[in-house]
């Protein structure tokens, strides 16, 4: 079922089967509906089931209780969860884990292990509202940690249930990273609802102490950790978008074939047949953009190439998933505009992930900047 495997990759095939089993008959979309309708927050039962299956530790080294696998395996799981419209914050968690994995402080490793077991939820806080418009990377992290205290804002922080934040702070030597507990003195947390039923956080730091005990990575070391984290997370989000868009496309294909008007299947009308083909092409483009990104990680390309590959995948997947989602609603007609139909639930998740860590325009700017800098 997945785009990301060839027959030789048994590990990925087994993971795909395992995700399909977990998804079952529409369990994910049922949780997504409940999340939206009841503002239920994280479904802890589903989350610990995912932890037991090992998915929260795919990238985490075996020594820290994870599976020690790669981005290719991660993408298989994210795609499968996307197909099921599962709302759990796997990609958000992966972002935090990939950042933590690049930190040298001892307690970074402890935090990493705690995220893999599902015991703790960690969120990366690296941008303020202004930068959220052009979420480029370490260069845009605010330098607001003067004299050992942090005073400033971090926006669009997920998952909202996080109990500790990995906070990026700019400085003359580059980005430093600190672990700050949710209940740290001087930190206030504001919750903003997101269209898929999750919330995002805006953090207000008022003189929060940046002491050594909290430091995960010193000035400079944080740049690489954050950059890699962004690249990994963008690929993971791309894979989830690919899964979401694949399911949206297939639902639409089925609907066109079964729905009758004027005494004939909608799919008999050439305008709609050609539209379906154009959506199919968008889905194939996602598959190819994602494949090159996974290959870049599989072959351990250098960080700039990984950044470009991730930006390329996220640009394509964000854009194409929105095209497919929008057209899925259109091709379902009025029923597609209702809560009863599944396509809307998928589209709300697509809207959330397409924007997360930078939308298609932002990714293309990033890609252009990196390409021109390399030339």
């Amino acid at each position: 079922m997945s785009a990301l495997m060839d027959d030789s990759q048994d590990e990925r095939r087994m993971l795909a089967d395992s995700v399909a089993g977990f998804a079952g008959e529409g369990r994910g979309i049922a949780r997504a509906r409940r999340l939206k309708a009841e503002a239920a927050g994280l479904d802890r039962a589903a989350w610990s089931e995912m932890a037991d299956l090992g998915w929260l530790g795919i990238l985490v080294p075996e020594a820290a209780g994870g599976l020690g696998l790669g981005v290719g395996e991660l993408a298989v799981v994210a795609e499968g969860l996307g197909r099921d419209c599962a709302p759990e914050p796997l990609v958000d968690t992966v972002f935090a884990q990939a950042v933590l994995a690049g930190c040298d402080a001892d307690h970074a490793g402890e935090l990493l292990a705690a995220t893999a077991s599902g015991e703790r939820l960690v969120a990366v806080a690296w941008q303020d509202e202004a930068q959220a418009r052009g979420q480029e990377g370490p260069a845009s992290v605010p330098a607001d940690g003067g004299s050992g205290r942090l005073t400033g804002r971090r926006a669009l922080v997920t998952p909202a249930e996080a109990d500790v934040f990995v906070v990026a702070v700019g400085g003359p030597d580059g980005v430093a990273l600190y672990a700050i507990e949710r209940d740290a003195p001087g930190l206030s947390v504001e919750t903003q609802p997101r269209v898929d039923g999750h919330a995002v956080l805006a953090l207000e730091f008022d003189g929060v102490s940046l002491d050594d005990a909290r430091r995960l990575a010193g000035g400079g070391a944080g740049d690489g950790a954050l950059t890699r984290g962004l690249s990994v997370a963008r690929v993971a989000a791309s894979a989830e978008l690919f899964g979401l868009a694949g399911a949206l496309f297939e639902q639409t294909q089925d609907y066109l074939a079964s729905r009758k008007q004027f005494g004939q299947a909608l799919s008999s009308f050439q305008a709609l047949r050609h539209r379906a083909v154009d959506l199919y092409i968008q889905r194939e483009l996602m598959r190819n953009a994602l494949r090159q990104a996974v290959r870049a990680f599989d072959s351990d390309a250098d960080p700039v190439d990984l950044q470009r590959a991730a930006a390329r995948a996220k640009a394509r997947c964000s854009e194409a998933a929105l095209i497919i989602g929008r057209q899925a609603v259109q091709l379902h007609g009025a029923i597609g505009y209702t809560e009863e139909a599944n396509v809307g639930v998928y589209l709300r998740r697509v809207l959330s992930l397409a924007a997360w860590l930078g939308n298609a325009d932002t990714q293309r700017r990033e890609y252009a900047r990196l390409t021109r800098a390399a030339a």
Binding site: V277, Y367, A368, T371
Partner: protein, 384 residues
């Protein structure tokens, strides 16, 4: 004799690249229009002497006998350096057809002359009223004892004015139950009385294709290929992995490179609006290339291409079109200048060339609308 197929792919690629770099004339690289036979004949005759007219034909018929995987490398290297295409219908269509369906006499008569370029073939498929709906063709071949008498008209016949022969799909049974039945495949010498060739000037001012008129043209019965009334089936069976190249990223890559050079010279990359458009196209080309490689890997692995290859042609040619459109926009007031746009001392870009270059690509080889029909039916299996 070298066993090319035994050579590893990288070594083979190196060999071909070195050969082309050294031997292929610089002036003929990446031509901006389809070149005529007299412009490319030196190169192809030289290759013929070396035995390299038909890399894909089996060695016993005078080809090189390359495996699909090696042929792919050979074609990729030709594309890379921008080798001008020959009027190659003999190599691409007639040879493989005769090898598969022809009589020993037909092979003996025609194959050596295709290899030596003594015969140059053109393709008589499309008609004024049979374009996308090719099977509706009306050129008629009537049985007259030991001859077929052909009447009708073919069109969009590429480089007929340079050809010595034409292969024709003609209707031999007007009463067949399906229009695809009742069509036969005929080999016709263009010197036969009753044939008139009229070049058609295209939108860019070049004469790349022709109309061919048949007025009581007598074709010997020996020139029928395969069984009578089975021409359609044979023509379809010949569609092989060459379809891959309808979706080649080369045209788009070249066009993007020209646009990049223009943008660089005029400082357009500093314009955020242009840069956004350009980057979007660059990624469209990058993802096209990735997909092409993935289909090419199927060919290398010995798989037959499925109907899904059609999406590559759609995306490739439409991407080329969007690049050409952006080039025309970028050149602004200078766009309609027929001598192009200067980008420095003695370099220039010709946006009209890109623009006119992209126009036929979404029409030929099965228009993109036909490709969408194919995908809807054979890949998406949407009920009609």
């Amino acid at each position: 004799m070298t066993d090319w197929n035994a050579m590893d792919d990288a070594a083979f690629r190196r060999e071909i690249r070195t050969y082309l770099e050294a031997e292929y004339p610089k002036a003929l690289r990446h031509p901006s229009r389809r070149l005529r036979w007299h412009e490319v004949s030196d190169w192809y005759l030289k290759r013929a002497e070396a035995g390299w007219t038909a890399p894909g034909w089996p060695a016993e018929h005078g080809g090189v006998g390359l495996s699909p995987s090696k042929q792919l490398i050979f074609t990729e290297e030709q594309e890379r350096i921008g080798v001008a295409r020959a009027p190659d219908q003999g190599v691409v269509m007639v040879g493989p057809l005769l090898i598969r369906y022809g009589t020993p006499e037909q092979r003996e008569q025609y194959l050596p002359k295709i290899l030596s370029w003594e015969h140059i073939w053109c393709q008589g498929y499309s008609e004024p009223n049979s374009g996308s709906d090719l099977a509706s063709l009306r050129t008629q071949a009537d049985d007259d004892g030991d001859h077929w008498v052909v009447n009708g008209q073919k069109t969009w016949t590429t480089l007929a004015q340079d050809a010595t022969h034409i292969f024709v799909l003609a209707r031999t049974d007007p009463h067949a139950e399906r229009k695809q039945k009742g069509i036969s495949f005929l080999l016709v010498d263009l010197d036969t009385p009753g044939i008139t060739i009229r070049p058609i000037e295209n939108i860019a001012g070049h004469e790349e294709f022709c109309e061919v008129f048949f007025d009581n043209v007598r074709v010997p019965k020996d020139n029928l290929v395969g069984n009578v009334n089975e021409g359609w089936t044979m023509a379809k069976a010949l569609l092989g992995f060459e379809r891959l190249f309808l979706g080649s990223p080369k045209q788009s890559q070249n066009a993007l490179g020209r646009l990049d050079a223009f943008a660089e010279a005029r400082g357009l990359h500093d314009d955020p609006a242009f840069s956004a458009e350009f980057t979007k196209l660059a990624l469209d080309v990058a993802d096209l290339s990735e997909a092409f490689e993935s289909f090419a890997a199927q060919v290398r692995g010995g798989e037959t291409l499925g109907a899904d290859i059609s999406w590559l042609k759609i995306w490739g040619t439409e991407t080329y079109g969007r690049i050409a459109e952006l080039a025309v926009q970028a050149a602004d007031g200078e766009a309609p200048l027929v001598e192009g746009q200067a980008i420095g001392e003695d370099a220039s870009v010709d946006v009209l060339n890109l623009y006119f270059g992209c126009l036929p690509t979404t029409i030929y080889g099965g228009s993109n609308e036909i490709q969408r029909n194919i995908l809807a039916k054979q890949v998406l299996r949407l009920p009609e």
